[in-house]
Symmetry: C2
Subunit: 374 residues, 2 copies
């Protein structure tokens, strides 16, 4: 078995971990750029905790809070220009996948000049600003990966920059910042993490170590599904149990570690078009497609599907599809023309080649159809 | 749950991984010091492969092959003096735990002046030579830890240096170098790794991520025990299956990742005296003690023992004790005076405080007695 493993990010996990470890910021420099969205990091207390820790460590900072959902290339160039113009030593990204993915690109672009044409090349000088990440959702796993996923209008999809330079230096993981997340966001992000873990096990680059992490991540997320369903079906929608919040955060970074080694597979390749063209949430898109992909794997490679289903504690892929349908409710309308277009686009991605079970274009069409048209 | 996780070593796993990745050496410098023992790395082909890779990468090197079993402080100072005197840029350690642990101390001492009094302090300047490690046994896990265990005559035991500076930069893992290991060495080293994984699960610093790695490591090693017993009982002793060799190598580095986060527990604390005073192999010492410790945990914290036994696929600790007795055969003679002395020494180590179930001095005496006197 040939594989490589590398994940150098320092993880600091637990309640009040930022406040209790403010000295960590001192090791990164004297002036920071906080990269975040306009609202959530202010509401959930994470930005306040970071600022207090920076103050106590005598580190000056400025805030770039213009990161939108699915950040664009223009947005990260603007952030890099702010970083350069203000001589910041390091980046602190706070938020869900969007500010973290943008934060990585900004840290790279602030340290070296890269033209837009070369941004996705993966070939850079060995220079990047140090990065501290504070995830405020439990899904993306970006805090422990070398990927920055940006919206690429030229390619009409989301495209990832992948480079070992982009591993964050430090990730602070505190599930208290997730307490106020809506039930829908909690579900969408948790199922994104689940998709990472499952796709990791379905990757040609899966290894003993990634499978160990993925199995445990799947087990932990599935343990939280009953509470997700309960929260979804109660009026008013109930608050999530803090222990489960922490479980989801741990499962999500472990699934992030998995895809940092394995990459993602057909599901992500298919999901990107749903997000790009139909504005369907990334985790939701993956969750709805994942069941059909698992059904295909069950048919073609039952042993492989069996390992995943065992971690899920489910007897068959059908039951997983039913659970996802319960979690995600009414589905979006997608026409057969759209399905043809998305299937073509997905076939061109490297994620398909990365899958142990490589679906054909027709398989993709059938998966889209079964997932969305019924 | 509060914890930290950090393991920045790049792992390159698989058959011929050194030959196929010789360019990696180029990223570390122009002149290398190979740190190894006198014989085994020459016999098993690892030194030859490393030299060929260095030649092909146009990197000059010299060899310091004076590392003995359980390396002493004098030995690592001598190696550091060779490194300094020859302006080497990086260290390549080849061998079992002894050359790897020595290699770390040499890399540290070659980069900065540290007096013998301060060697175990853990407080150093932020300077160390880059290190490439090639384990040729599957047990120590040193290739992915920040520990260097040296024989400390002043403290009459083995003492560890622990510093994030000591994480190797790269670990090349190729199980072909283990093909010629004797059955006894294979067993001793495998059970050392098993002890790491089990002790990791019994550590106060155990976390979701370390438990996932430890469970899988335990499962993999236990899958190889039947072949160990078979090899031990056949005449001539049989060669080990290459697939199991690779399984043990993977299990051993994963168990190394576990203790890099959790440290070891009472078992290692007790084992050190057996190695220091009685010259009992480190893995054998741990294996013989581990069963009794697991019996104690089963009595006091059955749920915790249950998780470990589940990974072992065994119904109770007694069966594990029996397996270890079968693997290790006739035991050494240890007097009750020696047991009293070793128990006192073990109580002073930080490993005891690191254990979820903190044994009292009397527990240690009982464990030594049950393990060795019967």
């Amino acid at each position: 078995m040939n594989y490589k493993y590398y994940m150098p990010t320092r993880i600091i996990m637990g309640n009040d971990c930022i406040t209790n470890n403010s000295e960590v910021f001192k090791t990164l420099g004297k002036r920071a750029l906080i990269v975040t969205g306009a609202h959530s990091s202010k509401k959930n207390g994470s930005e306040k905790d970071v600022k207090a820790a920076l103050d106590s460590a005598c580190i000056s900072y400025l805030v770039f809070d213009k990161i939108m959902s699915n950040p664009t290339i223009a947005c990260v160039y603007e952030g890099a220009s702010v970083a350069k113009g203000n001589d910041v030593d390091f980046i602190i990204a706070i938020g869900g996948g969007s500010p973290m993915d943008a934060g990585k690109a900004i840290a790279l672009l602030a340290a070296q000049d890269i033209s837009e044409e070369n941004l996705f090349s993966g070939i850079y000088e060995n220079k990047v600003l140090p990065m501290t990440f504070v995830p405020t959702t439990a899904g993306t796993g970006s805090e422990v990966t070398q990927y920055s996923i940006l919206t690429n209008d030229k390619a009409q999809t989301k495209t990832s920059i992948a480079s070992d330079l982009l591993f964050p230096t430090v990730a602070f993981l505190d599930s208290k910042y997730m307490e106020q997340l809506s039930v829908n966001t909690t579900i969408n992000t948790a199922i994104d993490a689940l998709s990472h873990a499952v796709e990791g096990m379905l990757s040609v680059r899966a290894s003993t170590i990634t499978n160990a992490l993925a199995s445990e991540s799947i087990r932990m997320i599935m343990e939280c599904v009953p509470e997700m369903l309960q929260a979804l079906n109660s009026v008013p929608k109930t608050i999530f149990n803090p222990k489960n919040r922490e479980k989801l955060l741990q499962a999500s970074f472990m699934a992030g570690m998995v895809i940092s080694q394995t990459g993602t597979s057909a599901v992500h390749a298919m999901g990107y078009s749903l997000t790009y063209f139909k504005d369907i949430d990334h985790g939701r898109a993956n969750g709805l497609l994942l069941g059909e992909y698992l059904r295909l794997v069950e048919k073609e490679q039952p042993d492989l599907a069996g390992k995943i289903l065992k971690s899920m504690n489910l007897p068959c892929a059908n039951q997983f599809v039913e659970l996802m349908n319960e979690l995600f409710g009414k589905k979006e309308d997608i026409s057969s023309e759209e399905i043809n277009q998305y299937s073509k686009l997905a076939m061109q991605t490297k994620n398909i080649a990365n899958s142990i079970l490589k679906p054909k274009e027709n398989d993709l069409k059938e998966m889209y159809t079964a997932s969305f048209i019924n």
